[in-house]
Amino acid sequence: MRVFWLQRFACCGNTHSFLNYENFSSLLERVELIYHPSLSLKPQEEAIRELLKEKKGVEILVVEGAVRYEDRETVELCRLADFVLAVGNCAVYGNIPALGDKDICGLTYRFKEKGGLLGRDFLSGAGLPVINLSGCPAHPEWIVGTILMLLEGIRPELDQWGRPKEFYSSLTHWGCTRNEYFEWKVEAEELGSKRGCLFYHFGCRGPLSFSSCNTILWNGVSSKTRAGTPCFGCTEYDFPRMGLWETRQYAGIPAELPIGVSKRGYIMLSGVAKMFAPERLKGEG
């Protein structure tokens, strides 16, 4: 399977995330990475010209980075590919580069607005929309996992944002080691500790974001919330929101509740949970 990696407005963070994939060498035995701008000997423009000229096409086109609306070259390359993977929040939603420039977008979105560079109805050669692998950066398992799925002939089932459900159907909250604190509404009063839930004061987006960070872990060992950092929701279109370290509250309740939870239910449950929270969860421990 031939894979061509394209970079546009990017920090190359997805490339370095990809290079952390644990079985990188055996991956390269199974897929043919015909071009990667950070790794290959040729400059990107030359590789693109060759690919367009030889008309052999490419099975997988990976796009890293945000794009300009006028970028016809990227459109042409996407049309050439059987599958198109938008890797990272820049390629999916436009992300940071799009914040300061209205002419910059993602492949099929600009933040939550559908369309982007390729338009609403784009289908790649194999008849699939762009496969969006959001995240800043995307986890290596999401990138490689999707490539391997395609290699096995499995078509990934996509969610409403075009992301494979395999990786984006559970909340980042799943597998968080602070879940018991969340359950009993024991808030982290301070940063710098393994204890307490970061959802109430520190802006944690774990119950509001979709990713498998806390179940598969980063670099095989940890995750933001395990390291005491709130989840910033970097797999969602609104990353990076204003006030990333703060939970906006109305009348003492988080302004945004965990996905699917009603305000009434939340108030009732949290009252009871706080009242009966086990002592061992409270204080410094």
Binding site: C11, H16, G192, G220
Partner: protein
Amino acid sequence: MKVENIELPRVEGEARLELSWKDGSIEDAKVCINSTRGIERVLLGRHYMDALVITPRVCGICGHAHLMASVSAIEDALHIEPTEKAKLVRRITQSLEVLQNHVKWFYLFVMPDFTLLEEKLKELYEPLKGKRWHMAIGVASKIAKGIALFSGQWPHSSYAIPGGITSEVSTRELTTLRQILIELKEFFLKYLVGMQEEDFVACFREGNWRGLGGDVRVFLELCHREGILEAGRSYDRLISGGQLYGLCGYFMNRVVHGRLKTGQIEELERVSYSGAKPVRYKGLPFETGPLARQLISGNPLIKSMHKELKDSFSVRVLARVLEIWSITEAIESWLERLKKVLRERSTSLGRFPSKAKGSGYGVVEAARGTLIHRLTIKDGIIQEYSIITPSQWNLGPRCESFLGVAERAMVGLKSPLHAQIVLRSFDLCSVCTTH
């Protein structure tokens, strides 16, 4: 005069080289980097804590350095002192990021050019195929794992906060990292310098750079054969502003000077062909990076090499490769200190002040050299933010009086490939240069 335009491969981002030829040698060189993402602008009007999430996104390979520069600038502005434990852990993870970058740079960015000069090197160093290329990826990602132990993930962690770090570090992180460092040292000795530890230490003490083996030797022999061992000299003025290990200061007129004054650092206006602003110290161009650090902190190997070859590109490359050893040893000593303060708190503050004001500098040593963040905060909101990256010093354009550092290093070379090899010794990161 012929002008040649070269699209550059293996750049973090995109860059072009414009060479002017006269009588078979390069008369002028321009490093053209255009795409800017305007990260400083995105920060304006946001709460200062947001900078800790946004500035790492300047660069995928050195984002941790940006995090450290941001948090230091905030602490400077708000007069916050982190705990001793947090300082040590931050130094450790920041240094680990430098290490993975050094390994990747040498094997993924420098050596592949040499396979174009010597067919038989392909077996080891060819991109995506070479044996050592694959090993280097494995080593680099192990180091990244070492960072993630403390910071939650790499790339793009935001675990450093005003007053400390968000993670509660315990013995597990310490002992696991120790194992990773042992493996890294083995890799360095076996492959990079190709010798036993005691022999390397002897070479190091004696400043015997010609005695080094391994991949370093392969590199030096090829430079010698190509006649470029002494190529790629620039101004021989070096600057190191942050503290990775050892000292900071600057090297000028063959003398190392102590502390530098941040007030003397100046960003000039952009020129037409580059999205980056030139940076000057005392009005002069300076090179920053491992060569500056190694020379200023007195590494005997680099001192003796520099004495012979000045700031040639080969010295620059060796300074960076050999820094892997110096940094690894420094991390080991910090781990010893960390053991003694493991029970200390991770942060001196716990909660960050939401309304605050002040201005501050954050100066750190990233893999490619001195990185400076400066910000002004009012009512907790960022009013000004400016970033000067190492690549701006090295790859930044000319001003009215001086060529950029890398530009000057390419003048007089006889082949476009040699020009690219020399340019790469500064490490081509266009995303940092223009940010």
